[in-house]
Amino acid sequence: MSTTLDMATTELREVNTMLQTAAKAHANENYIITNARGSHAMACGLDGPLTVNVKGSTGYYCAGMNKDATIIVEGSAGPGVAENMMSGVVTIEGDASQYAGATGHGGLLNIKGNASSRCGISMKGIDIVVHGNIGHMSAFMAQKGNLVVLGDAGDALGDSLYEARLFVRGTVKSLGADCVEKEMRPEHIEILKELLEKAGADARPEEFKRYGSARKLYNFNIDHADAY
């Protein structure tokens, strides 16, 4: 049994209030949002188990700061989808614009299409799986978590990376400062296998390369000034 909220007739504030209240009530209900029409800040701040299906594409910051909820966008997502997500699962059936999963602390962001620039910027523990390609400066200053890319990565992947793990199946146009290719050890294969399964991705872990921090910029050293 699902409840349908039509954004052609229901204001954003009302939609979010209903979703936030239902999530907080831990009723594990299903909601369908129709006529999303690129609305910003949709289904943000949900805190509890709830499933939301958005029919159509969303604007900025859909599913922002999500906790525990499952949100499926049956279209494409605008900038900052699932920004600062804490837990739960956010799935984008189409493409995601820039800053997807920015600063996310946990949960899974599953992008079935491509992601634009700065995907996973400053990520702090979130897992992001992109079935297509990602744009430039992705995982910039990424701190924790896993970014999995089934396609190709653009320029300056993982620039100024901290401890996040990056897995790319296709080509990487260039690596950013302090980002290097690393050995794929058995524990990484296991992590990747689990993430690919969760995301329903048709790929084998062995096809990927792993990238991570060289840790040379962790403490300032004048001999590394050229890297800045």
């Binding site: 209030t17 910003h40 600062n84 600063t103 602390h105 910027i121 910039f140 901290y162 962790y218």
Partner: protein, 441 residues
Amino acid sequence: MDKTPQTEPRQSWTFSNSINSEIRRAADTGIYDIRGGGAKRRVPHFDDLLFLGASMSRYPLEGYREKCETSVTLGMRFAKKPIELKIPITIAGMSFGSLSGPAKEALGRGASMAGTSTTTGDGGMTEEERGHSDKLVYQYLPSRYGMNPDDLRRADAIEIVVGQGAKPGGGGMLLGQKITERVAGMRDLPVGIDQRSACRHPDWTGPDDLEIKILELREITNWEKPIYIKVGGARPYYDVALACKAGADVIVLDGMQGGTAATQDVFIEHVGQPTLACIRPAVQALQDLGLHREVQLVVSGGIRTGADVAKALALGADAVSIGTAALVALGDNDPKWEAEYNKLGTTAGAYDDWHEGRDPAGITTQDAELMKRLDPEAAGRKLRNYLNVLTLECQTLARACGHNHVHNLEPEDLCALTMEAAAMAQVPLAGTNWYPGKPGF
């Protein structure tokens, strides 16, 4: 043999001993000088303004009998729950990490006793701070260290930091010496590494995006929390106008004397404008938009005395914010630690290597032993006393000018001692009815 007469040895003004010492330091280390605090150079400031006081044309209020109100409400524009403060002086954002836990607790205690708010900083919200602050403003910074929706909802207001006076356009760096297990855990980073704080937000660029970001924050917090936007004193007219456009309830404007935990000295001393120069353009922007007093203006950067508070309010601010002065009130740079300052190669009053984490006063440190030197209850009472003195001084000046609320102070109550201050504050040079740039002259 007769000695040839010689001229007295003459030091160069251009290559002074201070400059030469910096050249030698740079040559030895290969890195720019990093320090805490705000601009130390002499810039036109509130000291260059005077109140005229009441006389034949207006009458004063009796100091010990007639009321002079000090309360202020912040965040009336869109927020459902504006912040009500007893005094127009708030505590500025300073991070846990940069400051010790006891120091943050002391700030909360002092501010709460005085009836005002304190503010988190980069690194998230601590229990000490939330627990001891009646009103807590939660900073939303580019790094988003420790950011989470639960803390967002238990804050009393949200301050989106676009910039700060010590370094408009710059990010920050908390050096590895201060990255203990607790600090690192809150920031999701390894212990002991230098932690960069980005200069731009990761998921928006420009005021159009910021407007949508504010919409998201309001949706997450049920439109209850006042949203502040903090900007460094760079282009105050346009920055304030754009902050209003983006949907701010409150604007915090920080001049170049405003402090930082750690930044390059060249940034602190050479970027941004003096606080005095920022206020009138900011107020003008609010007036041009018809938003003066609807969007509140909080001014910070070099506020030390009740006279500074009164002068900032007279120029159009709704409140002021203090950081460095609050730390001094807690015990920072106290001469009682002189011997230890000397060991660090400095002296009380000049100690600014806050980033190194060896603060003898136990304030700008994460060292467990040094931290014990600060008693948060006693330090909190000192801050309360200091805030009370600032308030009494401000009231004294307002009454002398005939005002029953400190917000009734106005530019007409002031004159300037120097041409520079007259031009920046747009109040007449003392003894004249003129200031540089005044229309019609």
